[in-house]
């Protein structure tokens, strides 16, 4: 039975809806505005080009040809025309964060950059932890998104979550981040239930030369990075980078330092070679070491304690692409990834080997097929220095074999495409899984496109969910007159019979580009989840072997949950003036039904993701070398439930503003000043109750940065 219907929106929510209706109406007006009338007067020919005579009859409005070479060199191409041209991507809710977006927003990490994308919930738990998900079910170890870093899967096999502090590189070397909400096109793995985040770095051929940057501030205490890129022989290029960051701790809810500062040192390389026109080869690797301060709360038996977690990681990836022709190519990728984590309550060393291949070819004039397969082997070994969190067995291997196929069928050339695909997987937890999907896209003309998709996606249980055991403080139970109440424990346990979570998603999208300066992208979705893993309490108390004299309430994981969600995401891009660009994103999420059968409970399923999110960015190019950017964000309220006392814990909505001013006094030097979260002294964004740490507030901060390039 559906529980609360969440129909009562805050006044702001209602207001946002009205404003949206106004903007949509205006956009429709703009769309029906007569197209380019060519009525502009032609600029006169540049002096010295006397041999070029232009008569109005000949030009027909093509005055861009009159631009000189120097003007062309400085012209920025409107990004609306540089969106991904891949049809399979166009038939999905995709948003691309470009290098320029990241630079101008003043973000200092990939996690923060993701706030620009509609449909993503990004919440900062503390200085070194984030909770990021798409279309619901957010949490520190949110498991419904697949995150790829240059093709390398970065979620931890242990908990199917992503440690966002580790996903980093020299941000200037990132070409783009593709955020695809909804079950990823069948090309990716069994965790792409609610979306895929694809972080793509630039080829080393695009980062030649030396770049050094350094800065510091209140939250970003100190940071520095250096990169050197050069030719390597005739056909190859390479780069090396090193980066250091030192971040300050955030305060707890009463304003005291919560001991969550961290430092990270990282380095890496990338080599790209084009031995022949048909072959490209890439080899890249990173190594990093982090020291994160954590304050654990509600830990049994230690209560609250601090720990300096250390993380060491290294990875090596190689990729070879062979182009048979324009319509056929083969991709082969191998990588190795190692992480060594010591979180205090838990340590883990994990090694992953992965090999993937992908082949694209034209099956017929109207059909393009992509198919491929891969194999991933991972080994981990864990220890539990404190007894609250254990995984059994402590050390385990897992294998995943997967394959996929996708057929892009052109029903009407340049107008209608149908894409059918499926991914197949055999893993060591749940055996065989398949994820079919069907997408269609209709492009009546250059300005509009409509797409729809129906997909089935699956989230395989992680090793942790199959076999973990976690003790947390439970409710206090009165014992009788004169005796203090007994502290019960809560024993959360995994289940090795856990099955994969399932999703059937129905999506619809519309893109419009009424003029070259305005574009809008709308995506709607309706998701039905089954077999969500949730906790169910046992009938009787059980003893807790590691903690004598305390009894525990058993809560076991099982596939007891079902949910229905729907929502919409809107992104708009408007170049109001040649030097002023506005970009907005709005996300709406509504949980229609969420229930757990047989007396199981959803601890936070109801409101761990905000109902409304708004992001508005203004980018101005002032004078010749000054950039001024503003970024306004609104996130509506969250409501958590205390696991032990079942009391509600609200996290209120917030409105915040980031600002960046950058100045290039010389061609090679850029000075930037960035202010973050300027509107309020501090605000809370999330509450993490899994391996709970001290709740913190994100405070107002500022930093300065100098970048030197030659």
């Amino acid at each position: 039975m559906p529980t609360q219907s969440q129909s009562i929106m805050s006044p702001f929510g209602l207001w946002v809806k009205d404003a949206l209706r106004l903007v949509c109406a205006l956009a429709l007006c703009a769309a029906t505005w007569p197209g380019s009338a060519g009525a502009e007067t032609l600029p006169s020919e540049a002096a010295g080009e006397s041999e070029v005579s232009v008569s109005p009859a000949e030009t027909g409005g093509a005055d861009f040809l009159a631009l000189g070479l120097e003007d062309l060199m400085n012209m920025t191409v409107t990004s609306v025309s540089r969106k991904s041209q891949r049809v399979s991507d166009a038939a999905a809710a995709i948003f691309v964060i470009t290098q320029d977006d990241m630079r101008r927003c003043g973000v200092t990490s990939i996690a923060e950059a993701l706030r620009m994308a509609p449909g993503l919930e990004v919440a900062r738990i503390d200085a070194n932890k984030w909770a990021i998900s798409s279309r619901g079910f957010n949490g520190r170890f949110a498991s419904k998104m697949l995150v790829l870093f240059d093709g390398r899967t970065v979620y931890t096999p242990l908990f199917s979550g992503v440690f966002w502090d580790r996903q980093d590189t020299m941000l200037e070397d990132i070409d783009r981040i593709e955020v695809i909400r909804g079950p990823g096109a069948a090309l990716w793995g069994a965790n792409a239930v609610n979306g895929v985040i694809n972080i793509i770095t630039r080829s080393s051929g695009d980062t030649l030369g030396t770049q050094v940057s350094a800065g510091g501030g209140t939250q970003e205490k100190a940071f520095g990075a250096a990169r050197y890129g050069s030719q390597l022989g005739e056909d190859a290029t390479f780069r090396l980078y090193g980066k250091y960051t030192n971040r300050n701790s955030m305060d707890d809810l009463s304003g005291r330092d919560a001991n969550n500062s961290w430092t990270a040192l990282r380095g890496g390389f990338r080599v790209d070679a084009d031995p022949s026109v048909q072959n490209t080869f890439t080899l890249q690797g990173d190594v990093y070491h982090e020291r994160l301060h954590d304050t654990y709360v509600d830990s049994v038996p230690l209560g609250t304690f601090s720990h300096a977690s250390t993380v060491f990681g290294a990875n090596l990836l190689s990729r070879w692409k062979h182009s048979y022709s324009d319509t056929a190519d083969l991709d082969l990728q191998l990588y190795y990834d190692r992480t060594d984590t010591d979180l205090g309550i838990f340590t883990e060393v994990s090694d992953t080997f992965d090999i993937d291949f992908q082949n694209r070819f034209a099956l017929s004039q109207a059909q393009e097929v992509v198919w491929g397969g891969g194999f991933r082997f991972s080994h981990d070994s864990t220890t539990s220095p404190t007894s609250d969190l254990t995984v059994t067995p402590a050390s385990q291997d897992s294998n995943i074999a997967s394959s996929f196929v996708q057929d892009n069928i052109t029903l009407i050339p340049d107008r209608v495409h149908l894409i059918l695909g499926s991914k197949f997987e055999i893993n060591s937890y749940t055996g065989f899984e398949w994820q079919p999907n069907a997408r269609a896209i209709w492009t009546p003309n250059r300005q509009h496109s409509v797409w729809g998709a129906v997909s089935r996606a699956v989230r395989t249980p992680s090793r942790g969910e199959q076999s973990f055991s976690l003790y947390q403080p439970g409710p206090l139970v009165p014992r009788g007159p004169g005796l203090p109440p007994a502290q019960l424990l809560v024993h959360l346990a995994g289940n090795d019979q856990l099955q994969a979570e399932e999703l059937i998603a129905y999506e619809l999208g519309y893109r419009v580009e009424p003029t070259s300066t305005l574009s809008a992208d709308l995506a709607l979705f309706y998701n039905r989840y089954k077999k969500l893993s949730t906790l169910k309490s046992g009938a009787t108390l059980e003893p807790a072997p590691q903690f004598p004299q305390q009894a525990a309430l058993p809560l076991t994981l099982g596939n007891f949950g079902k949910a229905e969600t729907c929502g919409l995401e809107l992104a708009a891009d408007y170049k109001a003036l040649p030097w002023w660009r506005l970009r907005g994103a709005y996300s709406y999420l509504r949980i229609l039904a969420i229930e757990a059968e047989q007396g199981a409970i959803f601890t936070n399923g109801k409101a761990d993701s905000p109902q409304h999110q708004v992001s508005l960015r203004s980018s101005m190019d002032l004078a010749k070398s000054v950039e001024f950017d503003l970024w306004l964000r609104y996130v509506s309220a969250l409501a958590f439930t205390n696991a032990s006392t079942t009391a509600p814990i609200p996290v209120s909505s917030y409105l915040t503003l980031d600002a960046r001013v950058a100045w290039k006094p010389w061609n090679r030097v850029e000075l930037a000043l960035v202010g973050q979260n300027l509107l309020q002294r501090s605000h809370q964004e999330f509450l993490s109750q899994q391996i709970a740490t001290q709740a913190t507030q994100v405070g107002r901060s500022v930093y300065g940065k100098v970048t030197w390039q030659y």
Binding site: S36, A37, A62, D71, D235, V277, D326, S516, L616, L655
Partner: protein, 182 residues
């Protein structure tokens, strides 16, 4: 209070929407990538000198050819009939290497990456300026490579390849090129 600020911002946006003249596609500063490439080709036509043998006579047209897949209709409409170096510009589109003949500038699309060597070999030894946005074009025998630098499109020049084809590139163009290779 804050809601009022946001309200004002949205009203300003709405006003801009209605008030700002919705510009023609070709307003300065807002070119599409294809328009930019067409503009480059037109400029190269103005800054390159062909040997006398490349043209049939004083009134012969300057032919810009395109080979490979791409949205060339716009470039075709924009360039046809324009005058560069006292000659009328004609635009031709080729789909097969064998068809390429009689053009002075050939733009090779990225779709032809696999057949690049074949195309360059099939061209006459002199008189054709090759331009492309295929990666490492100059190293593969091309003359002018269009490269993306962030949100801008700029160009590199291989002077050796151009001189071997009898073409002379103006020093103004060489000065502006990102790189002059030999």
């Amino acid at each position: 209070m804050i809601i009022k600020i946001v309200a004002y911002i949205m009203l300003i946006l709405a006003a801009l929407f209605l008030g700002a003249p919705l510009p023609c596609r070709a307003e300065v500063g807002q070119l599409s990538e294809n328009q930019l490439k067409a503009a480059y080709l037109f400029n190269f036509a103005k800054f390159v000198e062909w040997p006398a043998s490349a043209f049939a006579g004083a009134g012969a047209p300057l032919v810009i050819g395109f080979i490979g897949k791409g949205p060339y209709a716009e470039a075709h409409d924009a360039l046809t009939g324009r005058i560069a170096k006292g000659r009328k510009v004609q635009v031709r589109q080729f789909s097969r290497v064998e068809e390429v003949a009689g053009c002075h500038i050939l733009f090779i699309a990225t779709s032809e990456r696999g057949r690049l060597k074949e195309i360059l070999r099939a061209l006459p030894a002199t008189g054709v300026l090759t331009v492309s946005d295929i990666g490492h074009f100059c190293n593969s025998g091309g003359m002018i490579a269009l490269v993306n630098r962030g949100e801008r499109v700029q160009f590199e020049v291989h002077i050796g390849n151009a001189e071997r084809a009898g073409l002379k590139l103006s020093s103004q163009m060489l000065k502006l090129a990102l790189a002059v290779l030999d």
